[in-house]
Symmetry: C2
């Protein structure tokens, strides 16, 4: 209790001083002011983006201009996701503190983990740590890897009923023997901070509707683009991969922002012919070094969602993480690239906290 209070005081102090929440910036990022009137996220509400389709009867002139030429030198700016996520988390911490001061409540996130996958354990540990840093209450439930559907459903149902919990995170993937679809369907829509419920996905896809939550990684990708000053409307975007967690919602979200989106997947022939025409490439294929330099248009912006473990005895745990993009080649062609690690990963966590905060604000009617 004392520890929690100390933490909250530290966050509040950091909030007042306007320093970054223990996450120093190492490369250039967009500077944002720390006053409370500034929004946490730059990405606007989805509704306002629902512009009517007014079709021209003739095609429009080609107004694309490459902003960058191929070279042997690094031309790309590095999009520092760790630093941007840190800024966002500072703002979240400020708002959590303000909520606590105003109404005596804080957002609550419940995390359910089934089994002992090492990667899941790492992800969950990072999420819990981020909750602590921002003053969000977290509640962790670990279930045995061979537990039954009903046990997961029971835990989920308990959190559904708990008014101090505003977001529930069921760490995926679940062990094979569990019925993921059936279990996820039990989750309260109002607490589905991952945004994976099909009703949420349908509302993300459909014009004139809006989801309660935007899935975290796609939301983080858009925020990275916007904070890097990348215009999305009217640009050609390619999403590589079509998973429910990343590829699908990212393509839907980019369309919401009026990009012209192509979805490349494993059945795509000559994918490099499609990617090399794109102004924005978001890749979530799960294949190390799939995206070579010659897959990219000079000046393209590349968001690398891939986090692929590669054996490396020189590293502490015997492996290192690498993205889908051949980074050394991409930085010589693209105008901006996210690194792995330190790009999209920290943003996913920041967006999870952002969704949890939004959910708590809705629950308490707090603005």
């Amino acid at each position: 209790m004392m520890l929690a209070r100390t933490r909250m005081r530290r966050v509040a102090a950091a909030c007042k001083k306007g320093v970054r929440n223990g996450m120093p910036s190492t490369t250039r990022t967009i500077n944002t002011q720390m006053d409370d009137s500034y929004p946490i996220l730059l990405s606007p509400s989805l509704v306002s983006l629902d512009l009517p389709d007014i079709w021209p009867t003739n095609s429009r002139p080609n107004d694309f201009q490459s902003t960058c030429r191929c070279s042997n030198e690094q031309t790309a700016a590095i999009i520092d996701g760790k630093s941007i996520a840190g800024e966002i988390m500072s703002r979240i911490a400020c708002q959590v503190w303000r909520m606590k001061e105003s109404i005596g409540r804080v957002p609550g996130l419940a995390v359910i983990m089934v089994g002992q996958r090492r990667d899941s354990q790492t992800y969950v540990r990072n999420k819990i740590k981020a909750c602590e840093e921002t003053g969000i209450k977290s509640s962790m439930t670990e279930l045995h890897g061979n537990c039954k559907d009903d046990e997961v459903v029971n835990v989920l149902s308990r959190f559904n009923e708990d008014p101090s919990i505003h977001g529930i995170l069921l760490q995926l993937p679940l062990p094979q023997h569990l019925d993921e679809e059936k279990i996820l369907d039990v989750m309260s829509l109002e607490k589905d901070v991952d945004g994976f419920h099909p009703l949420n996905m349908g509302n993300l896809a459909m014009r004139g509707r809006q989801p309660l939550f935007i899935p975290c990684t796609p939301k983080g990708c858009i925020e990275l683009l916007m904070r890097s000053g990348v215009e999305i409307m009217g640009k050609k975007a390619v999403v590589i991969g079509r998973s429910n967690i990343v590829g699908l919602p990212t393509s839907l979200l980019l369309q919401r922002h009026h990009a012209t989106v192509s979805i490349v997947h494993a059945f795509t022939k000559n994918p490099e012919q499609i990617t090399c025409e794109a102004d924005i490439v978001v890749t979530a294929a799960g294949v190390p070094n799939l995206i070579r330099g010659n897959w990219l248009k000079p000046g393209a912006v590349v968001i690398d969602v891939g986090t692929n473990p590669i054996e490396d005895p020189s590293c502490e745990y015997g492996y290192r993480l690498t993205g889908d993009v051949c980074y050394e080649e991409a930085v010589r062609v693209a105008s901006a690239v996210t690194p792995v690690p330190g790009g999209v990963g920290p943003m996913t966590i920041a967006m999870l906290l952002s969704n949890t905060l939004d959910s708590a604000k809705r629950a308490y009617d707090f603005t």
Copy 2:
């Protein structure tokens, strides 16, 4: 009652003789056998299409070969939607007759129309007529154009409860003053034969899930492609337009069939640069003659969903329908084209009946 019996006997007789249900074929179509073991639709269940993404580490060789060259002559086969829809409706009539003979029940479709839009009246009339031709029971409710949300909701709720109704069709668009989203959310998912509910759309979008109903026009487009022998997997497909009714679900459905899909819309710059690389073009922009010959790759297959009324004093009603495609130019470039009218339109109705039949089969556990 006598009339209904006569109609059913006529359908059953036609069913036995194997003739087309009053819809003669005027151009070449795929011949299908009339025995009952042959499926109504060629498009397979969605689940079996959920193949895993296995990514190559290198790009694949270019195996596309144009099957057709540009010329001054018509090169395109005409995809005769009217004839194909007629065949499908014959098969539906057979199954309705079999259901009636076996369990003494028939599928029931409720149609709700609000206001007196002339185009809606035409569409609804055609749907009711198609029900009569196949032996599906139809129930029509017309509401005044200035009725309130609650009145529409009440009618919908009554049909939700009625066990003899297996599909409910709320003819869109509704008058501006009505809350379409709120009203549509009332519709029972089990009777949403249009497939417009966001939960249905989410299940269409997500891997590993399947919707109860596939929206009629997109389902009709896929059926036209499959019956015309067009391979979809691995092909480049462009969908023009991103409406909830056509564009969005068509792009999702083509992805389910493993096409590489690009979605072109009003904010797309130089859309012709994207369409002219596509093997399959599905257009639902609502702009007459938007798609010119030079927008198409030689040998492309073109599905024209556009139904745009053009003033024409020489026509009976003072207007004629035209598609989004400049037909005269397209037939000289494409390998296959759907006409307007007589292409996608009749297929939409056939798919509505197919969905209603499927719903009744589910309700009665009839195979």
